[in-house]
Symmetry: C2
Subunit: 327 residues, 2 copies
């Protein structure tokens, strides 16, 4: 995490982007602050839990640097984070999660009903925020992404404990659940600051690859992270039956692990730890890390084809920071 | 219902509007048809359950009759219905309802998880549909309404079994839960067909009053309807603790009914029936009917101030049809 924070900080230290992120933070608290209890409290506790605001930062960095950051770009950055947060709240309902980032989830603290409404509220607020841009294409892009997110939620449950899952199915799920929102966040910044169609597409693809890498590294963390640093117990994906890329790779060489993964929900602490050790022993973690690094390299190549209207260097830093936390 | 269907039919028989509703229906099945199982099935079963499509009809009728119905108007009408459906699915999760319009709810048939995702999917699709108009003001209007809907859900639960609830609080909840979406549906038709600001506002207010009347009559039906015609058991609001206008009126003259209403969730069949009989005996139903009729009269007066770019007569028919079912 130290590595990541370092390069992350070089990006955020640029006045333009730290100001931009402050403006997003202000919009987020305005959104959370104006609503009736317990929705307001639920939304505030969620916002207070923070997070790195990677999606808003992508939006800000993908806006043309030829002009000052426009209000529309800040609205879009805020909308991307609101949509992400809506997904988190609903996911916690679906996963019956009790903790998120070390705090009680909305579903656990306020009940499932408030969590469903809070998620709906944040989803609606995402579109209200984006509507402030007055840009129909921006709304079309984010709503398509939101549709995909709801499908991704369903895919994740449908595919739970399915140890026959292949790399293509995994990737499709990651795109809907994670990467398409990274892509939209990036593309919105470009779209709303007048960057041309061709570079918009390149930046969207950069965001998508970054999101895929981000997800794969997240999946690796669940099997190979430092519990003290991540604040999460290892093996959550095994218990939930989320068949991730390192698990798919491990199954290719050790198909005999299949039945135990299929029963992941019933394994005790020692059983999960033993399974993680066997997965690690296959070399699947290193192979997944290679796949993610490959995504990052492709993302970097897309940047080098962009004009210098685009913050190529800082976007490159962001891409590297995703890899660095595993260096 | 027979009366209502009669005047409803005179409206829908106009070729322009029956074609418009057919176009909406086609959009709705396209939306439901293109998605992965079980989301697709859940959405289709919901769409198949039908309903009168009153919100889309309002949008179509509020579009200027000086021009053919534009695609944008059909998209907005579809979006209003999708948003309504999203709310229904999530409400069924929150209310743990098993039946809606005589069919199993999505939550009951497919589980809470699929219901939450289906609701999110429909909500996102509503904005994707509206984005097809390319109109930022339309998106701003509907997203504001969607925010209010999520607040209305919370209000309804917060105020459950609160027998001290006044008329103002009831009205505020009805606006967020029902009337604001009627208002938005009406106003979107006007907005997207170039009707001027002043008449847009009048049509929005007409929709709001219609929505309020619709909700009050719905609340009356729960205490005074014919179970064979409505397909619903009487007294659901008493059991759920939803303190409706007729109940508020009844409490004004019979405050001693308060403790029994506060315990509505624990009453048996006979207890609910006895309570309904006592509410009826206070004259509260007639008084609530008077309030709703008052809303309709105000809606009619707003129409008479509109120019003849607007379907004043048919909108008047629709308003009458809401009253007629209780004539």
């Amino acid at each position: 995490m130290a590595h990541q924070d370092l390069s992350w900080r070089t990006v955020v230290q640029r006045r333009r982007y730290s100001d931009g992120l402050d403006a997003v933070e202000e919009r987020l608290s305005t959104v959370a602050g104006t609503y009736a209890e317990p929705l307001g409290s639920a939304a505030r506790s969620l916002l207070g839990a923070g997070g790195k605001r990677v999606r808003p930062l992508l939006t800000l960095l993908c806006a043309s640097r030829r002009a000052p950051l426009a209000a529309a770009v800040v609205h879009a950055a805020t909308a991307a984070e609101l949509l992400h947060m809506a997904t988190l709240v609903h996911d916690d309902v679906l996963d019956r999660a009790e903790l998120r980032r070390g705090r009680a989830t909305v579903a656990h603290e306020y009940g499932v009903e408030t969590a469903v409404s809070t998620g709906n509220f944040l989803l609606a607020r995402a579109f209200a925020e984006l509507a402030l841009t007055g840009d129909g294409a921006a709304v079309a892009l984010l709503s398509k992404t939101a549709v995909g997110l709801s499908e991704g939620e369903v895919l994740q449950r449908q595919e739970a404990y399915d140890v026959t899952l292949g790399v293509d199915a995994y990737r499709r799920r990651c795109e809907r659940k994670t990467a398409d929102l990274f892509a939209a966040a990036a593309r919105l910044g470009a779209l709303l600051s007048g960057i041309g169609e061709r570079q918009q597409l390149a930046l969207g693809e950069y965001g998508r690859l970054l999101g895929l890498a981000f997800q794969v590294f997240d999946d690796i963390l669940d099997l190979d992270g430092d519990e003290d640093l991540t604040g999460k117990r290892l093996g959550a994906d095994i218990r939930d039956g989320t068949v991730t890329l390192p698990l798919i790779y491990a199954l290719e060489t050790r198909p005999d692990l299949g039945p135990r993964l299929r029963d992941g929900g019933r394994l005790d602490e020692a059983g999960v730890a033993a399974l993680i050790a066997e997965v690690r022993a296959t070399g699947a973690i290193a192979r997944a890390r290679g796949t993610a690094t490959g995504f990052i390299e492709r993302a970097q190549r897309l940047l080098s084809a962009c004009s210098d209207d685009v913050e190529r260097d800082l976007l490159g830093e962001v891409a590297r920071s995703v890899v660095d936390r595993y260096a």
